[in-house]
Symmetry: C2
């Protein structure tokens, strides 16, 4: 079809989409096995393989794509989802299949950034000092270095996809043992690797293989000196976490979320909040214990010794007409960017009530029904983002200028165009790694407007 | 129908249920207006007004009962819900109505204890010192006294319902102004009353009425001396919060949840966790500020100054056959009591992953699908309970003895009988004020097994 030569990458995408059009399941499976990233690629007018299979009534292809975890949310240039297309062309067995899995959040939303549990936390091992010490000096153990709560990364320009990815720099025991012995260093046990080695690793005997342990090393040594330890190129410590920590693979983002949240807590909570004394690290870096033996925090039930996680509600407020949604912007946002409203849950407040209070405080809009959609850990510093859809019962906007600069109702068409066609000066949405972005996509997908 | 004389209370319940049987909407409405507590009363064999109206096909009565917030979860002695009854007798318009509102949590579950937002928090007023001071000395302002983070209450035996209720002791400015001026006292602004006075208050001019503000006063003065201040009888400070704080009305429980969570935070976080210095109260008791002007906590974004809320997952794990659920017991539980598994969310963890990790750690059971149901603030000390249903993908139980003593699969029948017929030696469920109880009832109701 193309009248100009295709690049290697374009050609493989073309072959993949063509297999979906023809219902050629073996070919499609073969291509996916070699290049898993094909799954959500788009061709002409933004059509994905799922849309093409849905258009042409290939039930088994749709089923296979879903089982490979393909994303059901994208819309084509006519703002149709795969579900809309199947329904329009009368393939009700396919539209039912696409609707069915919608009951679980995992079926609708892609896995959220920072959420992947790459390691098995093995929290019971945190109190096993002998085991932890043995792991520390094991040559297979992986260490990550953090300076001022940010991880050392190396930047790799991915030629094929033109995506810029950051990669955590990994160290072995010998390379960091001087650091971890310093009294000010914080050592956090993150867990052990989940995956068993493949059978092709013939040198490893069955049963004898122990999955490597991972540790985060938090230090305030001079960053330039720390960078010299690394054998990799293009190493650096991100300085602006809100932007720079969004460039990891899903696997590494999950590890960063865990490690950074705990390190930020150590950084801000090094003194006993009950009596003001110094504290020491325990339980693989997941506990701080007051050094004052008289302190009340050593008796009874309380939370002073454990890492803090702050629950936050973040919500897409839907207009009573169901065809508009409310977004707001802070002064600190880039020009044209709007996002979901959000705020910390207060003591003595349920999730749904926090949503209603925050929306009314920030925008003056009243909310009735609130529905939980998904959650995301957000390690800046240590939040748990609880994502909801909320149905407005009033529409007048009165902004609290201390909180946000502006709030506005946007039509479904405006949102879908911004999602599909990218940023325009009037409306830029937050990046896809954020739960705000995913809530907006979820709403667009769940109520496609043909 | 009764062959023995009815008490006044029994008689009014009888009239109410009879109106539901006959479909007499005016009578039913009149009785409800005078005695709102009739709404969920049961008569012969545990039948509620909703069940009786559903049995007899009175759509408008069912509608009216629902709009008054009646509970759809109860089962009669045959373990049937109102929905089951409507369906069995072929009143599909009624069973559809009962099923419809099931989409929103608020339609299925009663409002959870500790969740009622009786006061308008008016968080923007927390920074308005002049306004706060004016409210403090206002003669209409309501003060609640807390000693060692527990509220002063008076006990009233309710003759009519034989329920024992505790009531918060209320004080006026003149009665506590010496206390609130002491430097060690913590004064927390809780909000202002939501309800406008009814028009019958003829002395109050339109527009001039200001809703009274509420404050909590946290003090460590001698409890006996504090009790002497009260003009009411039977006053005391509860000593076992886990039991004693479950005896308030819904309105007061919500206020206690807010006040106690903030006071517990002050009690455990009076020193700056970043540098160990002393701190001072600000923003109506909702902020602590480090007194050391060099402290890093005074610059940048962090959470050290604000009250802590700990998110906890609590989950009913459902057997793959959907007809059994997993409950566990801690050593500290009363004999025969089992409850939902629960645990704190860790840094860098999404809600669904925390559910899977906790269930596997505590019971060895693996979980697939996780669905959020409802949330509850729990002020012992300051938790946010996030309630989920989780579908197991394995069934073998292997208990972590450090966490729980025993875990067991219970059949739907065992659970329904314990819910309906009360405690028996084999299985006692947690009290109705807990989210664990409500999750269990939700599961029983959603899948009634006729």
């Amino acid at each position: 079809m193309a009248s100009f030569p295709l690049s290697a990458k374009e050609e493989i995408v073309e072959r993949f989409l063509d297999a979906a059009v023809r219902g050629d399941l073996p070919q499609l499976r073969m291509l996916l096995t070699h290049t898993p990233s094909l799954i959500n690629q788009t061709g002409y007018s933004g059509w994905t393989a799922l849309m093409l299979a849905a258009r042409n009534g290939h039930y088994n292809v749709v089923e296979a794509l879903l089982s490979h975890g393909c994303d059901k949310l994208p819309v084509n240039s006519s703002l149709q989802t795969a579900y809309d297309i199947a329904k329009f062309w009368g393939h009700s067995h396919i539209s039912n299949l696409l609707a069915q899995t919608d009951n679980s959040c995992s079926g609708v939303l892609p896995e959220l950034y920072f959420s992947r549990e790459t390691l098995d936390r093995q929290s019971d091992k945190r109190t096993d000092k002998a085991w932890l010490e043995a792991q520390q000096s094991d040559p297979n153990t992986v260490y990550l270095l953090f300076s001022n709560v940010n991880p050392m990364v190396s930047r790799c320009e991915e030629d094929k996809s033109s995506e810029v990815l950051d990669k955590l720099c990994r160290f072995r025991y010998d390379e960091v043992k001087d650091l971890i012995q310093k009294p000010k260093t914080k050592l956090i046990f993150l867990g052990v690797e989940k995956k068993k080695p493949s059978s092709s690793c013939s040198q490893v005997q069955e049963g004898s293989w122990e999955p490597p342990a991972w540790f985060a090393v938090g230090t305030d040594e001079d960053a330039t000196e720390l960078l010299k330890r690394c054998r990799e190129n293009n190493c650096f410590f991100p300085e602006s976490p809100n932007r720079n920590l969004l460039k990891f693979s899903e696997e590494e983002a999950g590890i960063v979320a865990h490690a950074r949240s705990v390190l930020v807590w150590h950084d801000r909570y090094s003194f006993c909040s009950t009596c003001g004394s110094g504290t020491s690290l325990e339980e693989g870096g997941h506990k701080r214990r007051c050094l004052n033996s008289e302190c009340r925090s050593l008796k009874g039930v309380h939370n002073t010794c454990y890492p803090r996680v702050d629950p936050v509600v973040i919500m897409l407020v839907v207009h009573p007409d169901r065809n508009q949604c409310l977004l707001g912007r802070k002064k600190s946002f880039p020009v044209g960017m709007f996002s979901c409203l959000a705020g910390f849950i207060e003591p003595g407040e349920a999730i749904e009530d926090a949503v209603r209070r925050e929306v009314e405080e920030e925008s003056g809009v009243k909310v009735g029904l609130v529905r939980y959609i998904c959650s995301q850990p957000w390690p800046m510093p240590s939040n748990l983002m609880i994502g909801c859809l909320a149905i407005a019962t009033s529409t007048n906007i009165k902004v609290d200028q201390n909180e946000i600069e502006e709030a506005r109702w946007f039509t479904r068409q405006q949102i879908a165009e911004s999602l599909h066609r990218g940023a325009n000066p009037a409306l830029m949405l937050p990046p896809s790694q954020t739960i705000a972005h995913q809530l907006i996509r979820y709403w667009i997908c769940k109520n496609a407007n043909l």
